[in-house]
C-alpha cells in the first residue's frame, strides 16, 4: 500500500470531473481579467460548458468504478449519482444567473468561478471515503458558498446573509472537526471502512464512539439545516441572491447529505442503536419546526427556507429507517427536491425584479393572468413540493415513508404524513396568489423571461414531471447504488 504513491491513470480518470471543474474555474478567473463588461456573459457560457464537460466526465467514470488516491476517494454508483446531481444543480443555477446578474448589474467572472469551485468541493464530498477528504470537500464547498451568499456587496441583506452563514458554518465545521478528532483517537484511522471495522468489534468504548458520531452529526446537521441547528437557513436564503439561494438549498445540501448517509450507513452502522434515536428526534423536530414556522411567512424566499428545513426532516426520516431502501429513498428525494426547489427559486428570482423588491407572496398575485406559462410551471413546482402525484415530490415522499414503514417506524411515518398535509396549507398560498388574485403591481411590470431563464425553468419542470411519471430508471439506479452499502 505504501510502496507506490504514484496514482494510476485510472485514478485520474475517476477524479476527472473535479479536474475539469478546476481547470474551467481557473480559466474563468484568468479570462475575467481580459474581458470587458460586454463579454462577461461569455464567461458564464464557458462555465456552463465546463459543467457539461464535468458531467460527461462523471458519466465516463461510470465505466471504471473503484477507489482512488490511496482510498481517499471512492467512485461508486452512489458517488456518481451525487456528483451528477450537484452538477445538474450547478448547471441550472448558472443558467438562471445570466439574466439575474444582468438585471443587478453584477455580471462578473468570479461569480461563475466560485460556483465551479463550490461544485468541486461538493463532488469531492460525494465520493469522499476518508474523513480528511470529507473535511476538505466541505471546506472547499462552503468557503465558495459563503462568498456567493454575499456576492452583491452593496446589498446589506446579502452581507447579513453571508456573515451569518459564515459564522454559523465555521462553528459547525468546528464541531465536525472535533468529532473527526475523536473518531481518529478511537479508531486510529480516518478511513471510513477502517472505522467501521474497529467499531464492529464489541466492547470498543461504544459510548465514546456514540459521542464522536454525535459531534459529527451536529456538524453535518448544521450544513443540511436540520432542526435544532436550522436557525441560519431562513435568514441566509432570504438574504442571498435568489439563484444562490437555489444553489445553496440544493447543491451543498445534497453533497452534505451524501456524506451523512455514507458515514452513518457505513462507519457508524455498527453503533446504529446509539444514533437512531437522535436522528428520529431531529427528523421529527425538523418537520414540525419547518412546517409550522413556514405557515406564517409572507416572504416567499423565507417560506422556501423554512420548507427546506422540513424537507431535510423528511430525508432524515429515510436515514432513521437505516436500511438500503432508506438510502435509495433519500437519494431519490434529494434529486427531486433539487429540481423542484431550484425551479421555484428561479421563478421567484424572475418575479423579484431589480434589488429583489418583489419577494412577498402578494407580489405573485395574478401571475397566472399575465404569464400563464411561467405560472403553470411554478404551480408544478409547488404541487411537487406539496407531494401531489405525478410529480417527483410525491414519489420522493412516498418512497421515504415506505422505507420508514418497512423499518417499522409507524409513529414517525404517521407524524410525517400529517406534517406533509399541513405543509400543503402554506404552499397553497402561493397557488392562491398566482391564480386566484387579480394582477398586482409587481406582476404588471414584468418583462418576458429571458431565454436562459426559461431554459432553467423548463428543464427543472421537465425533470420534476419525469421523476413523477416515469421514475423507473432513476429508482432502479438509486436502489442499485444504495445496495453497495452493506
Amino acid at each position: 500500500m505504501f510502496g507506490n504513491f504514484q496514482p494510476h491513470a485510472a485514478e485520474y480518470l475517476r477524479f476527472l470531473p473535479e479536474i475539469v471543474l478546476c481547470v474551467f474555474g481557473i480559466a474563468v478567473m484568468m479570462l475575467e481579467a481580459v474581458t470587458n463588461e460586454k463579454q462577461k456573459l461569455s464567461l458564464g457560457v464557458i462555465s456552463l460548458i465546463g459543467i457539461v464537460a464535468a458531467f460527461a466526465a462523471n458519466l465516463w467514470s461510470h465505466t471504471d468504478l473503484g477507489a482512488a488516491f490511496q482510498n481517499m476517494l471512492v467512485v461508486d454508483n452512489y458517488g456518481i449519482f451525487f456528483r451528477g446531481l450537484v452538477l445538474v444543480v450547478g448547471l441550472l443555477c448558472v443558467l438562471a444567473s445570466f439574466s439575474y446578474l444582468q438585471r443587478e448589474g453584477a455580471q462578473t467572472g468570479e461569480y461563475y468561478a466560485l460556483i465551479l469551485f463550490s461544485l468541486v468541493g461538493q463532488c469531492i464530498l460525494a465520493t469522499a471515503s476518508d474523513l480528511i477528504m470529507v473535511f476538505i470537500g466541505l471546506e472547499i464547498s462552503s468557503i465558495a458558498t459563503y462568498i456567493l451568499a454575499g456576492f452583491l456587496r452593496d446589498d446589506p441583506r446579502n452581507n447579513e446573509s453571508a456573515l451569518k452563514y459564515f459564522l454559523l458554518g465555521s462553528f459547525a465545521t468546528a464541531f465536525l472537526l472535533y468529532g473527526i478528532a475523536w473518531v481518529y483517537g478511537l479508531a486510529g484511522s480516518t478511513n471510513l471502512d477502517e472505522i467501521r471495522r474497529v467499531l464492529e468489534q464489541p466492547q470498543r468504548m461504544s459510548i465514546v464512539a456514540g459521542l464522536a458520531a454525535g459531534l459529527i452529526f451536529v456538524g453535518l446537521a448544521f450544513k443540511v439545516s436540520v432542526a435544532p441547528f436550522q436557525m441560519w437557513a431562513p435568514d441566509v436564503y432570504q438574504g442571498a441572491a435568489a439563484p444562490i439561494s437555489a444553489f445553496m438549498s440544493a447543491g451543498p445540501k445534497a453533497a452534505a447529505f451524501a456524506v451523512f448517509f455514507r458515514l452513518f450507513m457505513t462507519s457508524f452502522r455498527p453503533i446504529d442503536a446509539r444514533w437512531i434515536p437522535l436522528v428520529w428526534g431531529c427528523a421529527l423536530l425538523s418537520m414540525i419546526v419547518g412546517n409550522f414556522a413556514a405557515l406564517v411567512q409572507t416572504n416567499v424566499k423565507r417560506l422556501l427556507g423554512y420548507s427546506s428545513i422540513a424537507h431535510a426532516g423528511y430525508i432524515l426520516v429515510a436515514l432513521t429507517a437505516a436500511s438500503s431502501i432508506g438510502v435509495s429513498a433519500a437519494m431519490f428525494y434529494l434529486a427531486s427536491y433539487a429540481l423542484m426547489n431550484i425551479g421555484a427559486f428561479v421563478v421567484i428570482s424572475y418575479i423579484a425584479a431589480r434589488h429583489e423588491r418583489h419577494v412577498r407572496i402578494e407580489d405573485l398575485a395574478g401571475l397566472g393572468y399575465r404569464e400563464p406559462v411561467t405560472a403553470a410551471l411554478l404551480a408544478i413546482f409547488v404541487f411537487s413540493l406539496i407531494g401531489v402525484p405525478l410529480t417527483g415530490g410525491f414519489f420522493a415522499k412516498f418512497y421515504v415513508f415506505q422505507a420508514a414503514l418497512d423499518s417499522h417506524l409507524i409513529w414517525l411515518t404517521v407524524l410525517g404524513l400529517i406534517n406533509s398535509a399541513i405543509a400543503a396549507y402554506y404552499y397553497l398560498k402561493i397557488i392562491v396568489a398566482i391564480y386566484m388574485r387579480e394582477p398586482g403591481e409587481a406582476v404588471a411590470e414584468l418583462p418576458a423571461p429571458a431565454a436562459s431563464l426559461r431554459a432553467a425553468i423548463w428543464a427543472s419542470a421537465f425533470g420534476t414531471l419525469i421523476l413523477g411519471i416515469f421514475p423507473s430508471s432513476l429508482l432502479s439506479f438509486v436502489s442499485i447504488s444504495a445496495s453497495s452499502f452493506r
Partner: protein, 519 residues
C-alpha cells in the same frame, strides 16, 4: 390499445391538445367538447362486457408502470357493475359541464377547459383503478384541477374556500396513503386483486387491530370526501362559491369518489374493521341525514340549500353501505348515480338562475314560474327526483337503502326516513318561495331557458325517469358486483337476497334469477 385505456387516455389527450390551441378562439371549447364526447361514446362500449362478466372484472388493463428493484407498480384497471355506471356518469356529465362552461365561464376559458379534461382523467382513473397505488395517484390528480377551478373561477372568498377544500382532503388522504403503504409492507403488493386473493386464500392474514387501523386510515380519506358528518364543513363553502360547472361536477361525480372508495376498498380490505365500526358510521350517517336536512331547512341561499341537502342524501349512501345487506349496498350504488343526476341537475338549474338574476338568495326570487315556465318545470322535476318521488331515480336508491337499514336494525330505517320527509319539506318550501307567487318587477322579465340551455338538462331528466322506471337496465349488474363485495367481506351471515327478477334480461345474460339463500 384496449378500450379502457382509450377511455382513460382520451381526456388526457384532449387536455394536451387544448393546451396548444390559441387562447382567444373557439378552438379550446371545440376540442374539449369533442374529446369529452369521444370519451363518452367510447365508454358506452364498456357496458356490454361488464354486464356479460357479472361480478368479475372486465375490460382489464394490466401493464407495467414502474419497474425497479425496490418498487413494482402495475397499471391495473378493470370494470365491474359498481364502477361501470360511475364511469358512465362521469363521461356523460363532462360534455354537459363543458357545454355549460361555454356560456358561464367568461375569462381564461382555455385553462378552464383544460382543467375540466384533466379532472375527467383523474375521475375515470379513480373509478377504474384496481391497484391501490394507482388509485391514490388518480385520487389526488382529480383533486388538483377541481381545487384550481374552485379557487380560480369561484365567487367571493374563493381562495380560502379552495384551500380549505384541498387541505381537508389532503389531511384525510395522507392517512389513506399511510394505510396503503402499510398494506404493501404486509402483502408485498399494491394490487387490489392480488391482495384480495391473498386474503381469501389465507396467505395474508391481518389481526383485528391491523384491520381496524387500516380501515380507519382509509375511512379518513373517504369520510372527508363523501363527506360524512362531522367532516362536512368544507362542503357548503366549496359548493356555494365554486363556479356552476365546477359545483355541478363536484356534487354529481366527485362526491361519489369517497362512497366508491368505501364500498370497493374499505369493506373488502379490512372487513373486520369495517364491521366493528359499522354501527358508529351508520349512526354518523343518520346524524348527517337529519342534520343536513335540518340545516337545509333554514338556508336562505339556494346553492347552500342544495349543498346541505346533498350532505343529507350522501348520508343515505353511506348508511346503505354499512348495513352489510344486499339491498343496502345495491341501494347505495344506485343512489350514487341517482344523486349524481338529480343534484347535478339542481345545481345546474340553480346556476342558470344565478346567471339570470346575479344572486342566489331565495328572497331575491319569487314568482319566476310565470316568466320562466320552462326553468320552473325542469327545476320541479329535478326537485321531485331529489326528494325521492316514485317513478324518479332517487326513490329506488333510497327505498333500497331504507330496506337494507330496516333489515340491519329497524331503528336506523326509522331515523333515516325522517330525512326523506324533511327533504320534501325544505325543497318544496324553497320552491314555493322562489318560483311561485307573484313575480316582482325585477323577476317579471326573467328569461326562460333557451334552446342551448335545455340541451344539458334534457338528458339528465330523461335519465332520471329511466332510472326511476326501468331499474332493470342497471340493477342486475350492480347487484352481482355488490353481492360479490359482500361475499368478500364475509360478514353477511344472516340474510341475503339477490334481487334479480327473471322477467326481462334476455339481453343481459345474468344467470342468477331470484336467488334467495340464507347462510
Amino acid at each position: 390499445m384496449s378500450l379502457l385505456t382509450a377511455v382513460l387516455l382520451m381526456p388526457l389527450i384532449g387536455f394536451f391538445v387544448v393546451l396548444f390551441t390559441p387562447r382567444k378562439s373557439k378552438a379550446p371549447y371545440g376540442v374539449a367538447l369533442l374529446a369529452s364526447l369521444v370519451t363518452f361514446f367510447l365508454s358506452l362500449s364498456l357496458i356490454g362486457p361488464a354486464i356479460a362478466n357479472g361480478a368479475r372484472f372486465s375490460s382489464v388493463v394490466d401493464s407495467q408502470w414502474i419497474d425497479s428493484p425496490g418498487l413494482q407498480i402495475r397499471l391495473h384497471l378493470g370494470i365491474d357493475g359498481i364502477n361501470l355506471w360511475l364511469i358512465l356518469l362521469t363521461t356523460l356529465l363532462l360534455p354537459l359541464g363543458i357545454w355549460v362552461s361555454e356560456s358561464m365561464i367568461k375569462d381564461r376559458r382555455k385553462t378552464f377547459f383544460a382543467l375540466l379534461l384533466l379532472f375527467e382523467f383523474g375521475l375515470i382513473g379513480v373509478f377504474c383503478a384496481l391497484d391501490l397505488f394507482v388509485f391514490y395517484v388518480f385520487w389526488e390528480v382529480a383533486l388538483v384541477p377541481m381545487y384550481l377551478m374552485v379557487g380560480g373561477w369561484g365567487a367571493g372568498k374563493r381562495g380560502s374556500a379552495a384551500v380549505k377544500f384541498f387541505v381537508y382532503t389532503m389531511l384525510g388522504s395522507v392517512f389513506m396513503l399511510g394505510s396503503i403503504i402499510y398494506l404493501h409492507s404486509q402483502a408485498g403488493t399494491f394490487d387490489y386483486v392480488e391482495i384480495m386473493n391473498a386474503l381469501q386464500s389465507g396467505r395474508l392474514t391481518l389481526t383485528a387491530t391491523q384491520q381496524l387501523c387500516l380501515f380507519l386510515g382509509f375511512l379518513a380519506a373517504f369520510a372527508v370526501k363523501v363527506p360524512i358528518f362531522p367532516l362536512h364543513t368544507w362542503l357548503p363553502d366549496t359548493y356555494t362559491l365554486a363556479p356552476t360547472p365546477a359545483t355541478f361536477l363536484l356534487a354529481a361525480v366527485m362526491s361519489k369518489m369517497g362512497a366508491y372508495g368505501l364500498i370497493r376498498y374499505s369493506l373488502t380490505l379490512a372487513p373486520g374493521g369495517a364491521h366493528r365500526c359499522a354501527p358508529w358510521i351508520a349512526a354518523l350517517a343518520i346524524v348527517g341525514i337529519v342534520y343536513g336536512a335540518l340545516i337545509a331547512l333554514v338556508q336562505s341561499n339556494i346553492k347552500r340549500l342544495i349543498a346541505y341537502s346533498s350532505i343529507s342524501h350522501l348520508g343515505f349512501i353511506v348508511l346503505g353501505i354499512f348495513t352489510f345487506r344486499q339491498q343496502g349496498a345495491d341501494g347505495a350504488v344506485y343512489q350514487m348515480i341517482a344523486h349524481g343526476l338529480s343534484t347535478g341537475a339542481l345545481f345546474l338549474l340553480a346556476g342558470y338562475m344565478e346567471q339570470r338574476r346575479g344572486s342566489m338568495e331565495i328572497a331575491d326570487f319569487g314568482g319566476i314560474a310565470t316568466p320562466a315556465p320552462g326553468l320552473a318545470t325542469a327545476f320541479m322535476i329535478a326537485l321531485l327526483a331529489s326528494i325521492g318521488l316514485p317513478v324518479l331515480c332517487n326513490f329506488v336508491g333510497e327505498f333500497l337503502v331504507l330496506q337494507g337499514a330496516a333489515l340491519a336494525r329497524f331503528s336506523w330505517a326509522v331515523w333515516a326516513a325522517l330525512g326523506v320527509i324533511l327533504s320534501a319539506a325544505y325543497m318544496l318550501w324553497m320552491y314555493q318561495r322562489a318560483f311561485l307567487g307573484k313575480a316582482t318587477q325585477q323577476n317579471a322579465s326573467m328569461a326562460d331557458l333557451s334552446r342551448r340551455d335545455w340541451i344539458p338538462v334534457l338528458p339528465l331528466i330523461a335519465l332520471m325517469v329511466w332510472l326511476g322506471v326501468y331499474t332493470q337496465s342497471f340493477m342486475p349488474s350492480i347487484s352481482s358486483a355488490t353481492s360479490h363485495v359482500l361475499e368478500l367481506t364475509g360478514m353477511n351471515d344472516t340474510y341475503r337476497v339477490r334481487v334479480t327478477p327473471g322477467s326481462q334480461p334476455s339481453a343481459l345474460r345474468t344467470t342468477p334469477t331470484k336467488v334467495i339463500y340464507v347462510r
